[in-house]
Amino acid sequence: MTRVLVSLDADLASSIALRYACQLAGLAGMELQPIHVEEAGSKGSPPGSGWVRKTWEAALLEAGRDEIVRLIDAERDCCHGRLLPPKLCMGHREEEILRELESGDYDLFVEGTLYRFTAADFSAKLRSRLYRYSPCPIVLVRNLVEIEKVALLLGDGISHRPLVEQYCRLLGEVPLSLDLFYYQPRHPLFGRDALHDPQPVLENAARDLAKEGVKLGRREVLSDSPERAAETLRSYGLVLAGISRQHRKGAVAKLLGLSPAPCLLVILH
């Protein structure tokens, strides 16, 4: 069974992420492990050291536990996947989640964030340690949408193989409609002629998906501005894309930053 770590805080973004994860788990038979990291600094400076500090941290963790349990209980009845009791810990959020992802052998990490008009928030996420070193793909939930259609997004310099592999591993058995896109915005001076030819990449990806028995819908090159292309992706319940260190500032990353749809990021090391 696919193991999914879901990061939760007591906020709207987490509530959306949990609902979305439940939907995903119901579709693909996943086991959800919620995790909440209480960051000491977020509730003021820790007092003293030793016993005093430990007592203070225990009280914070207990308060956090109550909020997270309430959040989970509110969703439990509608959650179709297997929802495990939450793990709670104190520390630096990213470090603790990375540690859990490495030690827990998870297949997927899910977290929520509210979509913003500017893409700065998304860029910061891509620069974070968690997104650079995550051992498994990450689903970033920015809106609660029905997962009926999935888009697989390719771009210049991004290999299609890890994306196809992850799609088949996580969702290959689910009867979803999958569309394949290659994002190559028109060059302001040279149009598209001076860039890589996307057609062979699209054909190879389609062929590899077909080999795995995945039925493909649309197959298309998107060449609009990131804003317009993001609108095209809005109708998808999940956008699967690859992100690597070199492509954190690339066209695909820019497009994903502006797309309000949930995205599944395969970290290409």
Binding site: L12, L114, R116, F117, N143
Partner: protein, 287 residues
């Protein structure tokens, strides 16, 4: 719910009446169809033509939106003319046997002032009016009227313009208090236009106030219970005008402009006028 529909003699007013009729099919409000004739020396006597016959025609248009047998308003033949004052004519049902009230009213005077007075007089929840296409969104008798009344009306205002097809409604939320009437109006419009609803939380220094976040969650649940799944978006206060400008090109923009709203500060009357002008689709100002 009480709605004033302000009309003049131009075709865009026909569309405003049709949209008001579609809205009324779902909400059954009390409705006043209002026209304003220019001032003249004599105020008494028969209602001035061609205004009066134009209003009667608009009433027929409004009632035509209802299925026979399901109309909550009096039938066409039940209305009687009354002169309510020196510069006011009204036709209402002489004896009301229907659940809801529909009347046509003609005032004399400056159109913008009379429309605002009518909203006050009725205690209207919503003013609906149309305007011409293009950037100026004008009325033939008073070009600046639609933006002016949208900015100054004491109630919510729906300016019907542009494409009748509305793909999305963008509702900006920056305060804890949002009236039930506003939520219901949005609900009705989303259903009416089969539009996508986008709820926008306004942040300051990249932070969303806890009470606004709670309110967003509440509004999301409210619509989820009505099988409407809104999209959520956060917009920094400084970038809000740019955001609204972009959205105005795509679909109906609804702004919640309560007394405590920072939208009231960011969107001065001049900005509301500008928004009504530049928007390619209807604009809804919720108050």
């Amino acid at each position: 719910m009480r709605i004033v529909v302000a009309v003049d003699e131009e075709p865009y007013s026909d569309r405003a009446v049709e949209e008001a009729s579609r809205l009324a099919c779902n909400t059954w409000p009390d409705v006043r169809l209002l026209a304003v004739a220019p001032k003249s020396g004599t105020g008494e006597g028969e209602a001035p033509q061609p205004w009066w016959s134009r209003l009667q025609e608009q009433r027929r248009r409004f009632l035509a939106g209802f299925e026979p047998g399901s109309c909550p308003y009096p039938a066409e033949e039940d209305y009687r003319l009354e002169q309510g004052g020196k510069s006011l004519w009204e036709e209402a049902a002489a004896r009301r046997s229907t659940p809801k009230d529909l009347r046509i009213r003609l005032r004399r005077g400056a159109p913008a002032r009379e429309i605002l007075a009518e909203c006050d007089d009725m205690g209207a929840d919503l003013l609906v009016l149309g305007c011409g296409p293009g950037q100026d969104c004008s009325w033939s008798a008073d070009p600046a009227l639609p933006p002016k009344v949208a900015a100054e009306a004491p109630c919510s205002v729906l300016v019907v313009k542009g494409e009748p097809r509305i793909e999305q409604m963008v509702c900006c939320l920056d305060q804890q208090r949002v009236s039930q009437a506003s939520l219901e109006l949005i609900n009705q419009l989303v259903t009416l236009y089969q539009a996508r609803l986008e709820l926008v939380g306004i942040t300051e220094k990249n932070t969303l106030k806890a009470e606004v976040e709670r309110r967003m969650a509440g509004v999301m649940e409210y619509y989820a219970a009505r099988e409407i799944r809104p999209w959520l978006e956060l917009v920094e206060r400084d970038t809000l005008p740019a955001f609204i400008d972009r959205q105005a090109q795509r679909g109906l923009v609804a702004l919640w402009m309560g007394k405590e709203s920072i939208l009231q500060k960011i969107f001065s009357r001049a900005k509301v006028r500008q928004l009504v002008g530049v928007s390619k689709s209807p604009v809804l100002i919720l108050r």
